[in-house]
Subunit: 334 residues, 2 copies
Amino acid sequence: MLNWTPIVSLIESSRRILLTTHENPDGDGLGTAYAMADFLRQRNIDHRIMIPSQVPVEYSFLNQDGRIETYRPEHQSWIEKADLCIIFDVGDFFRLRELGDFVRSRRIATLNIDHHPHPENHPFSHNMVDTTAAATGEMVYDLLRTAGVDRLSREMAVGIYTAIMTDTGSFRYNNTTARSHLTAIACMEAGVNTSKIYQSVYENNSRERIALLGLILSSLRYEQNGEVAWFSIDGDMLRRAHARPEDVDGFTDFVRSVRGVEVAVMFFERPDGTCRINFRSKGRYVINEVAKQLGGGGHAFAAGAVLQDNLAEAIPKVKGLLARSMKAQAETAP
Amino acid sequence: MLNWTPIVSLIESSRRILLTTHENPDGDGLGTAYAMADFLRQRNIDHRIMIPSQVPVEYSFLNQDGRIETYRPEHQSWIEKADLCIIFDVGDFFRLRELGDFVRSRRIATLNIDHHPHPENHPFSHNMVDTTAAATGEMVYDLLRTAGVDRLSREMAVGIYTAIMTDTGSFRYNNTTARSHLTAIACMEAGVNTSKIYQSVYENNSRERIALLGLILSSLRYEQNGEVAWFSIDGDMLRRAHARPEDVDGFTDFVRSVRGVEVAVMFFERPDGTCRINFRSKGRYVINEVAKQLGGGGHAFAAGAVLQDNLAEAIPKVKGLLARSMKAQAETAP
């Protein structure tokens, strides 16, 4: 475990703290900020949560009282009197957008708490990184315990449970450890209604998104003896489903669930004519090498790229590269 | 915790044990039988796993060596020399079908290990029931610990993890407790690849099932300000998707995930002209009362019925009853 003692001192000696997370926030960033806010409330430390984005509807249960604000220039007079800005789960400082620029311009001390790797020369005043944590939520739990919190408040527990549940995919991704389960137990002992949180996050699909998924599943294509499943989405399909571009996220995870499929691929032709490609692998084939060849990147089993091609051009190109890569991997497999 | 000591003695003093679970088996029944088989192997006790059904394809990872056999009359000569039949997760003895009849006819001692409630006058020689357990897997873990197993073998852990993961819906149903998470940790410490088990069970949809889901999602209907979503499946839809009647399970869970939907309803017109109705609620409305009025039953938030009607007759009847029930519940809600 990291040494949280100096960090607790830093926090407890602050009079005003800004809490934030990356743009397009997820359950880990929002949940940890929400948990920390309750700790600061208990310690009577002035604080606000401001983020560079809107709160996604599936996390609105963390924001029923409007405590998570979207950063606007009017907030600057409050922010510039802060002594500390705690940034959760950011991955890259750049993802704070104008909010980050403003914090930097006023030379406000920054504390990064994150489980993503950060380069040696990072821009933070204080940098707490634990890449063994499945979620930033596990780190904030350690912090709170070091600060003398024996039993989590309900709000701390809701935030930390949300963080861990979402970043482990409900304890099923291979980042899940005993520590993830133990932290979840501590949250449950504080009385969290875990199935309600699950429903809020995962059973909150828009009708339009579900209609679009229907069109996709009705037009799935299989290649390479069924090891590859792919689909494409264009503006016409979006219109038929009354869906928006953000509704397309997560479909490759779903398509990967077909028996025999090892790699799922999405081709999404965006309104500007570029094509977003998304790859998900069950684990037999690494797919970020193909994403790199296309100018993109990602993790071994979840990667993507953006091509300056339309669908008709992108599909054969990507299918060819993927087939070659999978063939090479199959030949060198143990 | 139940007192497992006499049960351990019973098992260890047996020379031949038959392990079994209910027809249409799930991960809890199969996983616990699989875990127990490895314990019996370690203790050099003759044993076989025989079940009244085929092993579903999503659990074939528990049966790569064919250790889970489907009961056939040829097995009777082996079974009649058994001193004990351990039945996992059965709910109702009747669900052992002909296998249960044969065990009973030969007066073989039976040990029931289950987390479902059983009536006082049950047919078992020994009856171990713990309705506080989320899964029978949690009970078998206790049994193994009482038997002196300090560290689970890999096979025990695979079986118990499968049992708990499936019966808690990956730790998200509200039956999940600290005990579920702690037992999962014990399995992980034995080296279980949890994400591989998850994929085997949940990412094993047939192409036909996915095609059918596509047709359903493209034809979802909403009622009562979007609180009800329903769909119907008939023989024509099955044919278009090349799907079989067993492919329809689980769709209501998925449809319930639409934002704003409180109750999902499936109408499935079967080849014999009867109509299977399936209800799933997010928790605001109890739906087994409606199922009972239709001659069916189930849990508060997951229930069903079979009607002697075709789709055209069943749909308005069920929609009417459901609307009245939801209205009455909304009026009396606190």
